[in-house]
């Protein structure tokens, strides 16, 4: 605890009074103390990163600041004066705007309509909306952010990165002095993140105070001026970014130091399990050929939108490729559905565990047994004891942190939820394991555990195809890495050849290669 959060310190430039202060804030939910005496302050023109594991209380703090939740104790000050955020509209009037992880956009409305939602530009004082003013002002806002998005375009037609920018424009239209960004880069590729960083920096220089929440430590270190750590609903401390290293930050977040983040992978690469030849799906990817061996972790990387998820979905029968052939242990197969894929021995850990991986209200054990209910039949009926046994076995095997296997998965942390999905896949006896962003939205402690599980599985002879946007993951875990660029494989690198530069230059669009170099060295 290096300092009290509400003390005023120099920012390297001059002493500034904080625009927003949070003092002794507590928030209770039935049975849990989500926030416990939390301190936080924010100065104009700074980017303040808020980090912590899942469930540390970041989201709750944001909801208290934006008036979604009422605190049970403590107070919020703006410009040194206490304010009460009775509802989100009041928070907005005080100049606090939030951009959420899961965007709250209206995909069927235009960008301009989204920007001025609940803040419509009317003709004088009349009841009618002035579309001309709406579009003109939307255009001004977007151009001021250096974006070329047309205000008339449908929100749903934009990429996630562009939607993000439209949301920022919306916050600006409300003259926000405090901008809260919750995991803004989670769904963005490296290049898109870089563009977002530039916009955020420009806003900071104009005097906007920004709270940044991100699981990517990279975001914190490239963007933030100060960083605050929350753990189990408590303030752990606030530091200047220059004062801390990634390791110390991580140990503050998890409350202990993580000795070995990436486990040593020692398994031998064995026989060929899967071979793909010339797989194509018009409009998504083309001419994909590669092979996967037992005991191997094969990385599939590239920018978001390069077609990686589409390729693995085709392998697992979620979609059907137009041409190309898939071979399993040398035999040609056709896969029409996830059911077929599982029967043939290919299982998929989907990208979005909450929507595609889990039945959230169901218990851990019922989630795990869903894949192979046939293993639990006694006289044609499901046997509860048999399901319990398997549930307990996997909870122990993967050290899923839960009181009992009967606990609903929605009450688990992101990392433990991911372990439940992995447990489910393991019941399938499928030797080919495809993992799409296995550590997305997972806290640091669980990340290390998931890496360990992957390495152990490879040692048992599983072939793992890992789709990942996180370069360190690919560099440290994979035996080989495939890089995709606009629907095609642009490079296949062996472990000995791995360098961040090589991976990145293969991933970036050809015309933007120069820009990528700047990103890398700048």
């Amino acid at each position: 605890m290096t300092q009290q959060a509400h003390s005023t310190r120099t920012l390297g430039r001059e002493t500034v009074a904080p625009v927003l202060q949070v003092e002794h804030i507590s928030k209770l939910f039935p049975g849990i103390k989500a926030l416990d005496d939390v301190h936080f302050d924010l100065r104009p023109g700074e980017i303040h990163a808020l980090v912590g594991e899942n469930g540390a209380g970041k989201s709750t703090l944001i909801k208290v600041l934006t008036g979604v939740h009422q605190p049970d104790g403590g107070r919020i000050l703006m410009d040194g004066k206490p304010v009460v955020m009775t509802d989100p509209l009041v928070a907005r009037r005080h100049g606090i705007a939030a951009i959420y992880q899961h965007l709250a956009a209206y995909p069927h409305l235009s960008v301009a309509e989204n920007i001025f939602m609940c803040n419509e530009q009317r003709q004088g004082k009349g009841p009618f909306i002035s579309w001309r003013t709406t579009h003109r002002r939307a255009e001004e806002l977007l151009r001021s952010l250096g974006s070329t998005i047309s205000p008339g375009e449908l929100m749903g037609a934009l990429s996630v990165a562009q939607q993000q920018i439209a949301e920022i424009a919306k916050a600006l239209s409300q003259e926000a002095r405090v901008l809260i960004m919750d995991e803004p880069t989670a769904a963005l590729s490296r290049r898109e993140s870089e563009e977002l960083y530039n916009i955020v920096r420009r806003l900071r220089d104009q005097g906007t105070a920004i709270i940044l929440i991100s699981h990517r430590l990279e975001d914190t270190f490239t963007l933030a001026d100060r960083v605050s750590v929350l753990r189990d609903g408590r303030s752990i401390g606030t530091w200047q970014v220059e004062e801390v290293t990634a390791d110390t930050l991580v140990s503050h977040m998890v409350g202990r130091s993580i000795d070995q983040y990436y486990p040593n992978k020692s398994s031998q690469v064995g026989e060929e399990l899967l071979r793909v030849e010339g797989l194509s799906r018009t409009g998504f990817f083309g001419d994909i050929s590669f092979s996967l061996h037992a005991g191997e972790i094969l990385g599939l990387t590239g920018l978001v939108g390069a077609g990686r998820t589409e390729v693995v979905e085709a392998l697992c029968g979620v979609t059907c490729p137009d041409t190309g052939q898939i071979y399993l242990k040398g035999h040609p197969v056709t896969i029409h559905s996830p059911h077929d894929a599982l029967k043939q021995g290919i299982s998929l850990l989907p990208e979005d565990r909450q929507k595609q991986g889990l039945l959230l209200p169901w218990s851990i054990q019922h989630n795990i047994t869903l894949l192979r209910l046939d293993q639990h039949l006694k006289g044609g009926l499901l046997s509860y004891p048999s399901e319990c046994k398997v549930g307990e076995e996997y909870v122990r095997l993967l050290s899923i942190k839960a009181q009992t296997p009967q606990e609903p998965v929605e009450s688990l942390s992101g990392g433990n939820q991911q372990k439940v999905v992995i447990a489910k896949l393991l019941t399938a006896d499928a030797r080919i394991l495809i993992m799409d962003e296995p550590t997305k939205g997972v806290d640091v402690g669980s990340k290390a555990a998931i890496y360990q599980i992957m390495v152990d599985l490879a040692a048992q002879g599983y072939g793992i195809l890992m789709v990942s946007s996180e370069m360190p993951e690919v560099l440290n875990l994979c035996d080989r890495a495939l890089v995709m660029r606009s629907g095609r494989i642009s490079a296949m690198l062996r472990r000995q050849e791995f360098t961040p530069e090589k991976l990145l230059s293969a991933a970036l669009p050809l015309s933007a290669e120069r820009k990528g170099e700047e990103v890398l060295h700048g």
Partner: protein, 344 residues
Amino acid sequence: MTGAQKPTGRIPGFLRRREWLLAVLIVIVYFVFNSQLPESYTVVNLLNQSRVYMVDVGFMAVGMLMVLILGDIDISVASIAALASTVMAVTYNAGQGLPFLVSVGLMLLVGLVCGLINGLLVTRFHELFPMIITLATQTLYRGIAYIILKDQSAGSFPSWFSKDLGYGSVRILGVEVPLMLICILAVFPLYYLWIHRTAPGRRMFAAGTNITASRYSGVRTDRLKMTAFVFNGVMAAVAGIFLCSRTGSVKYTIAAGFEMQAIAVAILGGASTSGGRGSVVGLLLALVLMTALKNGLMLLYNDAFILNLSIGLMLILIVLVPNLWNMYRSMRTLRRQRLAISKS
């Protein structure tokens, strides 16, 4: 969460499950009406009236429950029953046409085909809501029944059908139990095993809870939906059989409005229109509760309008009570936590 499917631990003791709540309500309803009408409102009378209130709606609700568990809805069941009954009555033609049992077989076939059409439309056109699809087939099926029968009514069924099945009973332990009540009660144990204890049953709950995650887990969701809609169609036709035997004749308006009653009973029994929830025991208890309530209200007021009103009230009540309980409990926990803080 009303706590019908998973014990959340928030609703205490015996009210934790919808089934127990229903059982308590049945006892209350029985004793309230019994004290008002000690002579006419008795177990014997309830058993007698179960023919009217429990059997045909009950069969429709059995089929509907499966569709609701999958997160879909089918509002064409009453029309299926009407079309199937029409086809039966017309082909039998008061003894002039096909043999009676062949006509009944044809009736079941009509139910199956109607369900198949619903299922095909729902699984082939994912972008259309089952509500809209079955709204279309609802008018379509009843329209066909009208084309066949016009304003006529058809009937003159064999006497064993309209007398023995319709009004016959079996003496069990000194009580006359209607034959058709025994028929529907016999369905429940098998249905329970199917829904709650087999792998396909579990997968139906899975598909209703999260269809995408289920598909990724190898559950063949379209196949399950087809099964549910076809089963629902056949059950509607079965409901039609019992309705015909009770009324003795068929008009194209037969069973009008029954689909809403079937949905209401299933929801009263713990199902949800958003899918993934439902209980066979709850369904049976909800049927008994409706019978007890409707019978009492009819005896007291002798006006059919009171019936619809009572169903509405009962639905609001039973869906609301567990939620109010939850709200009260979490408020109490919060107050206790706040107290503990202010003391420390």
